[in-house]
């Protein structure tokens, strides 16, 4: 077991309207701690000293819920590729390091407090089409709908997205294209997603734009930052589907007609 002395510079902001500033905290951490456990140690010290602990979002701490995003030394989720902040361990740092911690920044992700941002814009994108409609009633026969293995795997690759927002945080344009494309692609590659395929991509892209995310400039920073390694191939697929849907959708379908 080896301990390390670190200096943290953390963004503190008391409320959405407050101005916010960086504050410096020394911390002694163990190399086997996760990054969030290290922050827990800082917070215990702050609480003992009667100060406000650093607010940060977390839930599963096992890399699947997507809530723990923050910028660590300029990188969404920190220095390790394909790793969420909660799965990052202090052995990725060394004794004496200075660590800069900032919230994800995007107009569509307003800061609630310190490192916690409001990502409900992602929820609204999902509500705009990230689902399939199924008939209620008796359960369908297993394997009644055949899905080729290779397609299932590609759909699963897209479905890996945990909606953490690292793509938006890393993108110089604060674009949500990788997130939206992962959700669009995941369903577009499965037979169950076909009936609503066109309406889905039109609705989700419209919502994405109206939330105030920037457009895609193909920097590919999102792919590099994604803890689930979602490929920008999904963005190309969404662009293709969006173009097709825009040209083929009959106008004012409103009530959910699907054109072919």
């Amino acid at each position: 077991m080896s301990t390390m002395r670190l200096t943290l510079k953390v963004w503190r902001q008391a409320s959405p309207e407050a101005k916010g500033e960086f504050r410096t905290y020394p911390v002694e951490a163990d190399e086997h701690m996760s990054f969030l456990e290290m922050l827990d140690v800082v917070n215990e010290g702050l609480i003992a000293a009667g100060e406000e602990p650093i607010a940060f979002d977390h839930d599963c701490r096992e890399g699947i819920c997507g809530s723990c995003g923050m910028m660590i030394n300029g990188k969404a989720h920190g220095p390790r590729a394909a790793t969420t902040a909660c799965q990052l361990h202090m052995r990725s740092f060394k004794d004496g390091d200075h660590i800069l911690i900032e919230p994800f920044r995007a107009s569509a992700f307003p800061v609630i407090r310190d490192l916690v941002v409001d990502r409900s814009s992602f929820d609204r994108i999902i509500q705009a089409g990230g689902y399939v409609s199924v008939g209620t009633g008796a359960a369908p026969d297993g394997n009644a709908i055949l899905v080729p293995k290779e397609m299932a795997e590609r759909a699963m690759d897209a479905a890996q997205c945990i909606g953490c927002g690292a793509c938006v945080a890393a993108c110089p344009n604060a674009s949500a294209m990788l997130f939206t494309a992962a959700k669009v692609s995941h369903l577009a590659m499965l037979p169950q997603g076909q009936p609503e395929r066109h309406r889905r991509v039109l609705g989700m892209v419209e919502q994405m734009d109206s939330e105030g995310f920037g457009g895609c400039t193909n920097f590919a920073e999102c792919e590099a930052a994604c803890p689930k390694q979602i490929s920008i191939e999904n963005i190309a697929r969404m662009n293709r589907d969006f173009l097709k849907a825009s040209l083929r959708e009959r106008e004012e379908t409103g009530a959910g007609a699907v054109s072919n």
Partner: protein, 218 residues
């Protein structure tokens, strides 16, 4: 028509407009570059090419207006997307690492502005002739060589062509993504195509001011 308006209203649609107008301009620049390097054969062959073009008379305005329209659409989309991106980012980071983006991709906006300034200068220089030391209608080859005699002008041409090359490099790769041309079997060709076209077009153009600066153009 509704579909076109709907597309333009979206960020993806604006990018599609940029990619299609960009491709049109790439096509024009390939043919323009090939005709320009005729100057290395001799001035007379450029004059012949110029005479052939002018032979179309007023019809020449059709491609001109199409190109102008493409430039206007391309810039309008670039301007709107840049504004949306700036608004989308909101505050800036104290530290923001950008390991994946390239120099070319990060200079698309200001590089594009430089290209626009270049296009205006270039038209006044060699088409209209009002910022040319000794412009003579129809003597294309001679005008080209005389116009490059000024070192600052040749240098400006050279720098602009480097900016054009950077814009090409990211732009052509970007077109594949924007138009949804992405397949694991073919993806390794995308960079190669972008590099090849960049070297061909920007290199072909740049060879002329470079030759002028070295005193090889006459």
């Amino acid at each position: 028509m509704n579909a076109i308006i709907g597309l333009w209203r979206s960020t993806i649609g604006k990018k599609i407009a940029m990619s299609l107008t960009g491709l049109l301009l790439v096509g024009f620049l390939i043919s323009h570059m090939i005709s320009n390097v005729l100057v290395f054969v001799d001035g007379a062959s450029l004059d012949l090419y110029g005479a052939w073009l002018r032979g179309f008379g007023p019809l020449l305005w059709i491609p001109r207006l199409i190109l102008l329209g493409a430039v206007v659409i391309h810039i309008a989309a670039a301007y709107q997307l840049s504004a949306l991106a700036r608004a989308g980012r909101g505050g800036s980071y104290r530290d923001h690492d950008r390991p994946a983006s390239t120099y070319a991709s990060r200079t698309m906006r200001w590089g594009g502005v430089l290209i626009l300034v270049f296009i205006i200068f270039h038209i006044l220089h060699y088409t209209v002739g009002i910022i040319h030391p000794d412009f003579r209608v129809g003597e294309v080859g001679r005008n080209l060589v005389r116009g490059m005699e000024s070192k600052p002008v040749a240098l400006f041409y050279l720098v602009s062509m480097i900016a054009l090359g950077a814009h090409f490099l990211h732009g052509i790769w970007s077109v594949f993504q924007t138009l949804g041309i992405n397949h694991p079997t073919w993806n390794r060709w995308r960079r190669g195509i972008a590099i090849g076209l960049t070297v061909l077009v920007a290199g072909g153009f740049a060879s002329i001011p470079a030759a002028a600066l070295l005193g090889w153009l006459r």
